[in-house]
Symmetry: C2
Subunit: 355 residues, 2 copies
């Protein structure tokens, strides 16, 4: 158990009004959690303080060598006023998996969850309640040694900030159009692709700009070796329903092991759907599209939960899926997962954790 | 021409004494350069201010999505008291190459060089003069938008900090032992390997820790596709002299185009040495080692200029080079390049730039 000191703000901000669209990731609550790491002392000084800028030496290693990691999860307000988190232990576990890969000291799972709960409780009034809204929780760690030279830092800051968010896609559950990237690569086996660290996201920017310019909202990545196996989409894992079977890329080290991905696999198996985790090539997708067996495509991720995919563009080929609409499995998964998250559907897996 | 405002420190620090060993990257001078970027305004407000911490929102994009880049070059004091930079235009050009890859707005070459010259001039007294010492110059750019979500930032800070440094290897020009990594990958074609951005360095940490634990000071990377072609070493490019010919990996997008690498190629060609830029596999190196034609191996980089390699470890194989000593080409290159940098040898290429 962490002994978390709390310093409440003396100047609380005004809560966003109920009809504020809450553009994703732009508004932050009154408080944040901070804990420091110092070599020889471990993780120390856990505290909740007013949301405020942080001051770092210009030589702080995070600015130079990218030793940083983040997580993302959400808190939801139920109709009867409870606050629920969705599988926060999974984010804590993934934090440590990321940390091991990039040489950041691990954080005990229960301390991570306690820190999340504590700061969410304090800013509970910020959790929005309109359909599709939630409180986005961003834990992150940065390397703070004032040192130029490539080695793991000896000091870190672990912080949690909170942001009330509207639906990820302002239009609601709407099919997205996806650009299949065949020039740039996001990550490769043996690299840092399965870690949730800045280096994977910066690698994606240029493709994303290109895709946006062409009218596509997301980029789908192919593997860096054979340049033909599907990896994942910007900030989502990806599923294909082909001829009745759900197929999603295997976790081979270059893609993020998504919490939503894991939940979708479990739920679909319980529904009796065939689910395969395996390598799947873009040629196989294209073939299924051509012979009419590509039934549904959807992305999974904390931000949008389920994102139906209405179209894919691969070079000169444009594949329309579900006539550009929402498929039945996508819709049912969205309703089920958000139902569990909002406490409307019985949580048979014990996935939700009350704050 | 930038109109650079200067605010001098009122509390100058004590200069390091002449027998301070100047551990690399730990001491910083009295001033730093800052310039901001704002969308619609471009790069604005260039200034030199006292060296001080910077204050950022916890949501600043650099902490989350790794949109950051850096450069590294050095200023040297000549025996007749002049201050020389070595090919600063190359660092300015590489900055923009990095920036294009990771969607940071470019900086005009002449502005970059002017900024470097200005801040170096102001802290000229900090340039150490003992053999092997210099003033390390670290320009870097960070994304500052307070925003959670993956897209290029709309605001940035470009900064230059300065650090007086001793020889990179405290023991002087001493052969290093190199660990050839066959499990992890640093970068892959199509990725960000040729950009000087944090994501490449964080990817290297785990291997580096492993190598250190085994008594090796540096890691040599193999390519991410075939896992057998030589890429580069930690913070150096790499050269092999096999049977009289110098061979260095071709720039194929996954390795940094080093300024020292480029200088070495030019100088060696002028000396009449055969130089090949091409793919070279670890098997070819091993074969050359076995048949006695692996004559020299050395790394090239700003920090150590030339690093003779005395030994390589590849799985269970240990290859000793030059009986673990310094080869004649390595020594001659070191003497020549540092000679030019220190103004002792005629600079026929116009590589040095006086501050
Ligand atoms: C690269 C990437 N892949 C997949 C996901 C989906 O993971 P999760 O379902 O845990 O949100 C995310 C977002 O978190 C991501 O950033
Ligand atoms: C990854 C990497 N490769 C090579 C180099 C050598 O480049 P340069 O000679 O420009 O210093 C560096 C250092 O700058 C580096 O970080």
């Amino acid at each position: 158990m962490l002994d978390i000191k709390v310093e409440m703000t003396k100047t609380p901000k005004e809560l966003p009004s109920a009809d504020n669209p809450l553009k994703f990731g732009t508004i932050f609550t009154d408080h944040m959690f901070i804990m420091n790491y110092e070599e020889g002392k471990g993780w120390i000084n856990p505290r909740v303080v007013p949301y405020q800028p942080i001051s770092l030496e210009p030589s702080a290693m995070v600015f130079h060598y990218g030793q940083e990691m983040f997580e993302g999860l959400k808190a939801y307000k139920t109709e009867d006023g409870r606050t629920l988190l969705f599988r926060p232990n999974k984010n804590a576990e993934r934090t440590n998996r990321t940390n091991r890969r990039i040489c950041i000291p691990e954080i005990p799972i229960e301390d991570f969850v306690q820190a999340v709960k504590t700061v969410v409780k304090i800013d509970e009034a910020w959790i929005p309640t309109k359909p599709g809204t939630s409180l986005y929780i961003r834990p992150f760690i940065i390397a703070t040694d004032p040192f130029l030279g490539v080695r793991p830092s000896h000091s870190y800051m672990f912080m949690i900030i909170l942001s009330p968010v509207g639906p990820y896609y302002p239009e609601g559950l709407n099919p997205v159009k996806i650009w299949i990237e065949d020039e740039y690569v996001r990550a490769v086996k043996g690299g840092i692709g399965e870690a949730k660290t800045g280096g994977n996201y910066v690698a994606s920017l240029r493709s994303q700009v290109k895709a946006h310019d062409e009218g596509y909202s997301q980029v789908m990545w192919l593997d860096g070796v054979d340049r033909k196996y599907i990896e994942e989409v910007g900030a989502m894992n990806i599923f294909f329903k082909i001829n009745g079977t759900l197929i999603t890329p295997l976790l081979t080290g270059s893609i993020l092991p998504g919490v939503t991905r894991d939940s979708v696999i479990q739920v679909c198996k319980e529904w009796g759907l065939a689910v395969e985790e395996r390598r799947i090539s873009i040629d196989e997708i294209y073939e299924a599209y051509q012979n009419g067996t590509l039934e549904e495509v959807f992305g999974t991720g904390t931000a949008a939960v389920i994102s139906p995919v209405g179209g894919l563009r691969w070079g000169d080929q444009i594949m329309q899926v579900q006539d550009g609409g929402i498929g039945p499995v996508s819709q049912k998964l969205y309703d089920t997962l958000t139902g569990i998250q909002l406490g409307r559907i019985e949580d048979t897996h014990n996935w939700t954790v009350e704050v």
